[in-house]
């Protein structure tokens, strides 16, 4: 029979020699391999204690930004949802009522805004499509959950709070949104 590779070995049931029956040389040879790796550079890091440096344009968990007066930038135009290749974004728009001018920047706002983080592929097209500089991807990682429902992020998780503002200055485009 012709072999496909030259790595095949003929198996024999020849009885082992005395040295082979001691097993010690084989054990030492194996231990040497193990010990050699102890002194090599590690490829992994001890994650929670030690964290890798993220690129400034890392595409992680989304944030819905507020402007400098704390009003939500998002106006529920739906461009992120239509740009989304994974169809992860859904929203319902509502009209701003008189007296809510300090909450929402524009006449229309997103009443609900949901991103399914299981669907999301973190491509950043929503950020690119946004005409209002409202949605940005950040260097935060989406935490693990046990239930599928918990991955559907609503406005409570996406909109930044005024006390803990998310810095996106490194990825902020300029000139898209006028401050009038």
């Amino acid at each position: 029979m012709e072999h496909l590779s030259n790595r095949s070995k003929v198996v024999s049931d020849k009885p082992m020699t005395f040295m082979e029956r001691l097993y010690l040389p084989a054990i030492f040879a194996g231990m040497m391999t193990t010990l050699k790796h102890l002194f090599r550079r590690h490829n992994t890091i001890k994650y929670p204690e030690e964290q890798r440096v993220f690129a400034p344009v890392y595409r992680g968990m989304h944030v819905l930004k507020r402007d400098e007066k704390g009003r939500e930038n998002c106006t529920a135009c739906g461009l992120c949802a239509v740009a989304c290749p994974a169809e992860a974004i859904t929203m319902v728009a509502a009209e701003r009522k008189p007296g809510e001018e300090n909450l929402y920047r524009e006449e229309k706002y997103a009443e609900t805004y949901e991103i399914n983080m299981l669907r999301c592929i973190f491509c950043g097209l929503c950020e690119e499509a946004c005409p209002k500089e409202a949605i940005f991807l950040t260097d935060r990682i989406v935490p693990t959950e046990f239930e599928r429902d918990d991955f559907i992020y609503g406005k409570d998780l996406l909109v930044e709070s005024m006390d803990h503002r998310i810095d996106i200055t490194k990825r902020q485009h300029t000139g898209k949104r006028s401050d009038k």
């Binding site: 135009c77 739906g78 239509v82 728009a93 509502a94 009209e95 524009e106 006449e107």
Partner: protein
């Protein structure tokens, strides 16, 4: 029959046809855009100046070129006329200027506007406009107001094409709205905010080329590209009952007339297919309508994003 050449394409048309309609008979991208002209409404046209074309030869008998650009929607053709639209640099430059003028007072609030995605001004600006504006002064602003209880008027977005005024004059029995004031202050108004209670007043939403007149029952409910347009008909004793229902899941979000490639209502049984206010605003239940099939939208339109038609469906309905 008179022979006319538009962008090197020759066509024979009836005497008295306008250049724009002759171009529409040829079809394709040589058709000049029109913001104010509406073929189903006599008397429209000549206001927006987007359809200006260059006439390089007046006629067979008098081959001199016309010195100025001509309004193609109201200039009739003459035998042997040679017209340049796409192929004329002068026209393209002029059209970019017209777009800039139309956008001087336009708020550019497309992310909010319900018309976004099917707005003629968006298309016009996309194809002919520049990236920026040189206008530095304050834009004129008006507060949004209600025209009747079903129509919202955003005067900021209006380009004063007068189409809706012609709808009020021609489709409804008594005209209750028109344009007040002059120049910069001109605004569409129902005189002293009279509500429009007329069976066909809703058609002014369909004829509006921008988002100035929008459907209050659809206001901010969704974006057009999330909806699925379906041809549907109902038995109605006021209108033809042939409309397009825009569905989201099993819900009808809005009803519009059937519009052709130029954004004008299609003819139904030889008449313009205007729909009445009952069909437009009140019949939002699926059981009111007989669904005929999906409406074929130009695949380059944002509305057809995420809607897929089989090649067979495309063949059945010729894409316009």
């Amino acid at each position: 029959m008179v022979k006319v050449t538009i962008d090197d394409q020759v066509i024979e048309v009836e005497p008295g046809t306008t250049i724009l309609n002759a171009a529409r008979q040829i079809g394709g991208d040589i058709v000049p855009p029109a913001m104010c002209y509406y073929s189903k409404l006599p008397g429209t046209g000549g206001k927006c100046r987007t359809c200006l074309v260059e006439v390089v030869q007046g006629s067979e008998k008098d081959p001199r070129p016309m010195p100025k650009l001509m309004v193609s929607c109201s200039t009739t053709v003459q035998d042997g006329m040679v017209v340049r639209n796409k192929t004329s640099e002068r026209v393209q430059k002029n059209r970019a200027g017209v777009v800039e003028f139309l956008l001087i007072n336009h708020p550019l609030d497309c992310p909010i506007c319900d018309q976004a995605g099917e707005c003629h001004l968006q298309d016009l600006g996309f194809e002919n406009g520049g990236a920026g504006t040189r206008y530095e002064e304050e834009r004129r602003t008006f507060a949004p107001r209600d025209i009747g209880n079903k129509i919202k008027l955003h005067m900021n977005r209006c380009i004063l094409c007068y189409r809706c005024v012609h709808v009020a004059k021609q489709l409804t029995d008594q005209r209750v709205h028109g344009v007040l004031n002059r120049g910069e202050h001109a605004e569409i108004s129902t005189y002293i905010e009279n509500a429009i209670e007329n069976d066909f007043s809703g058609n002014m939403i369909d004829v509006c080329p921008v988002g100035a007149l929008t459907d209050k029952t659809f206001r901010f409910k969704s974006r057009v590209w999330f909806l699925k347009p379906l041809n549907a008909s109902c038995s109605c004793n006021k209108c033809s009952g042939k409309a397009v229902v825009w569905m989201f899941g099993d819900e009808i979000y809005r009803v519009t007339a059937r519009k052709d490639a130029y954004g004008e209502v299609e003819e139904q049984d030889g008449k313009a297919g205007w729909i009445c206010n009952d069909c437009r605003f009140d019949k939002k239940d699926v059981h009111n309508w007989q669904i005929e099939g999906p409406r074929v939208i130009n695949r380059h339109s944002v509305i057809s994003q995420g809607h897929y038609l089989s090649p067979r469906q495309h063949d059945q309905k010729k894409i316009k």
